[in-house]
Symmetry: C2
Subunit: 607 residues, 2 copies
Amino acid sequence: MSGGYMGRWLHVDLTTGAIRVHPLDERDAQRFIGGSGLAARLIGREVAAGPDPFGPENPLIFTTGPLAGTPAPTSNRFTAAARSPLTLLWGEGDCGGRWGSALKAAGFDAALISGQAAAPVYLHIENGEAELRDASDLWGVDTYELDLGAPTVCIGPAGERLVRYASIMHDGRAGRAVGRTGLGAVMGAKRLKAIVAKGSERPGVARPGVLREVVRAIIGDIVEAMQGYRANGTAGGVQNYERLGNLPLKNWRQGSWPEGAARITGSRMSETILVGHYACAGCPIGCGREVAIESGPHAGVRGGGPEYETAAALGSLCLIDDLEALAHMNEVCNRLGLDTISAGGVLAMAMEARERGIWPEGPAWGDGEAAVRLLEQIGRREGEMPTLLGEGVRRMAEAWGVLAREFAIHIKGLELPMHDPRVYVSQAIGYATSTRGACHLQAFCHFYERLGRAPALGIPEPLPREAAEGKGRMVAILQNLMALFDSLKLCKFLLLGSFQPEHLVEWANAVTGWDCDLAEWLRTGERICNLRRAINARLGASRADDILPMRLLVHRRGEGGAPDNLAPFGQMLADYYAARRWSEFGLPTPELLRELDLGEYADWVPA
Amino acid sequence: MSGGYMGRWLHVDLTTGAIRVHPLDERDAQRFIGGSGLAARLIGREVAAGPDPFGPENPLIFTTGPLAGTPAPTSNRFTAAARSPLTLLWGEGDCGGRWGSALKAAGFDAALISGQAAAPVYLHIENGEAELRDASDLWGVDTYELDLGAPTVCIGPAGERLVRYASIMHDGRAGRAVGRTGLGAVMGAKRLKAIVAKGSERPGVARPGVLREVVRAIIGDIVEAMQGYRANGTAGGVQNYERLGNLPLKNWRQGSWPEGAARITGSRMSETILVGHYACAGCPIGCGREVAIESGPHAGVRGGGPEYETAAALGSLCLIDDLEALAHMNEVCNRLGLDTISAGGVLAMAMEARERGIWPEGPAWGDGEAAVRLLEQIGRREGEMPTLLGEGVRRMAEAWGVLAREFAIHIKGLELPMHDPRVYVSQAIGYATSTRGACHLQAFCHFYERLGRAPALGIPEPLPREAAEGKGRMVAILQNLMALFDSLKLCKFLLLGSFQPEHLVEWANAVTGWDCDLAEWLRTGERICNLRRAINARLGASRADDILPMRLLVHRRGEGGAPDNLAPFGQMLADYYAARRWSEFGLPTPELLRELDLGEYADWVPA
């Protein structure tokens, strides 16, 4: 380990109350790093066995990365993972804030939670010790009100009540979230309200001088490149994305909405309700927003403001252009613990159901007040229809009849994030092949398709829109790279500036003391991608699940920045599988798994 | 009616034994003609109500066309239709031979069978009278042995035992079949063994002199153009299709098989086992084959020889290159009453299941002897696995686990016919949007994409392979035209020569006495297509069902005539829906239905 890794993980069994500390296996660390990769390594076998997502057999794990607590910027993110109650496949999400470094400071790279408590508990971790504490009085408390005095991850009422897209929240009113795949509901099913982490352990850095030097060499560029993000947050991109046709509108049907976009964009937020900025621990960028509303129907809102995904999912996707209502919706989601992306997908489907006469009492397009009320009901599971809406769009379609499939926009059960695959078409493949269902972050390819900028990956220039060429392969390479970000727990926003994959290698080698080149690191990323795919294969997923909703395959919006474009789906996907060297079923072969040093999983996939 | 239509249809209720004769409504005849359109008109409402395909509520109808019995060549085909036990959607099939004109001569344009008999019966129709007769002694008799002394449609043991792709057979050893969508099982569920038709009524022709003249003007060209079909049958195309990459191989995975193709092609059949030719009533082409095998393991085979679809489905798709075994397999299917296309799809899937270790005792690729035995067992439902195989590939996949979806090659539950949509890519849309599941005949577009030749339809030239442009629209127009063929009951092989849509107009106007131009006739075709789509909509089908199996979307075969090509599926499909003017759900709108004079169905589709 060469001092780079603390090298311990915590195992807490909620059924028995047993608490154990394990050394981190050195070979596991080298093969799977931390974050997403380490999570897949430590709980992959239990997840692949297909546990009831809400049962005691479903493990829930939190993992940090080796750079947590070091001077490497943006390195304090953490991962949560389990079998997803939404997709029934590999579920994971990650989050910034200060809990990742706090867990590390408390002495652990990871905390694995198994079993199920008989009554609500929370977990207190401090300086190498862990303790389960009664949380009966905390049950029902929303995430803004919960205060345990130290960095905390927790669930709100939505997670407690098993809403299938419940989030795990962090940092109170700052509203940081492990949003996707419903891991808050897994935590709720375990009756685990929160995990507090604090301590004073310092992370090991193998070559601290080198780390300081390589960080100093680029930190100025990062800050410089991200000034816009600091000024207007990620939601600063709303208007530009609207112009490009990349901003989803009206449940993915509409192509143009310039005035609405102008009303909810980040600069408008800066001019109106913004009261402060938020930065995760160790981040020189600070893209987070703090907003406050003093008067009017949404008076009292105060805390984290909508990020881009939230502004689009709860805003443009539902044609809601009232920024204060949007901030209120965001706060409701954060307080109750709901993934804002899935919540937006659910609201948009509900609005379309009203339009189509399936749910005449549902919210109308653009009705922010109704949306606020409905989100409250969903998060608290109040009423028959809000309870159904808490199941996500795939299950809503099952309840509403087969025609409702046409407007249940999901992949593998996960509602889509806010980048239209009819514009940067490689995202069609990113979405279709992500192991957690529709995810823009496991490939982050819209960025590279649009800008190029990665000569070391063979993507020096932007790729022509509409064309299939090169994009399937690009998605595979980028997934390998992003698996490294997700396992080192670095923030992908680094990439928006001059940060290159080579910098990641420098940082990671300086901390770990390893001497891997980019190709070796990418091979590690490939290993992690294949392990996650193998877990899903074990759960029955294969190529047949790598499909877009028909609306995104064939619906031309007829207006806006990309009025007629559709993704050349089959061609790109074929190229992707070829680049992955996967089988006719779109799965890793036993040979490939062995080649990637995953031989112990070779019997998980068809020979 | 102007004398063009006999104008009566028969309704037999098997439950009560009631037999009624109804006049054919003149407006129905003008709106829906005969065949497929009239069938949809007369039983569409009952089918759309979603009856158990094997229950008494599922109507089964046989329809002829207005040209039956007239001098118009190839005009004696007939349609059968019901709710399909295979797709659970609109099911139909058609057939040549001499039964269509016999039903017309017996005095009827259509025979609708409702209810369910308590014990096996057959229906005898003669000169305007109909009678149910006991068929207890005929139950179990195979279709080659059954002899009722006059033109007969009947089922074999497969239909009696509810194999979901059982065919309705005709003309004994000639082996003519209503093959697709399992209508033989519907007949079996009704305990209706056969329908005999005979009589001496002459069809009305409004302008007999005109009809004689327009037929004489082209009959020579037809005979001339089709000499190759007469010489080598439809299977004469096997080798050429193999060279083009259009011949499906090894369950759609392989790209090249020249030696195998040479062994099963029509010319090889001509040189070896061919003993005669067969022509349907009124056909100057005579593409049918009579074969006989005198010695060896397949001695005793005697009757209709494999057509192209059969040679490919039972042959190349399974890598079976033994022509005598193939002829034997064809005879087993015909005797027992199994659709050879679906049977081939099932066998290929079974062979792949053996390869993948799912069914180690299954037949091996290329093993014709095992295939003969297995088809016998499937047709008689002997044994657990053959019984499952009688359910079709979609249900086999459900039984074999989710990974089996990857090699269950079907659309809407119907196994694919033998034209690869990775070569003539418009067929991807023809397959995906056919109302009976994967069907090459409802669009017949591979022919036009390859050859053009239809200036009146805006398709004067071949369309470039691989490109999407123009193909979606072409499929919509061709479906409208083919709906006319299927409703007038003309043979589409007319189109392989110099026969043009304008000739169809001349023939149809001469018989009916109408004066519709091509645009009006095509509008009638469009009406029929939309009615069938509306029936399926009522049964829950929509755009989400218009999808290819993933293997055909993304699997590049890497060899042969089209090694790398894949269909630009989304683009063509979007163009198709636009040409159809269908809704965001891919369904007719109420407005469109009203515009097409289908106002009484407007409440079947979402507004």
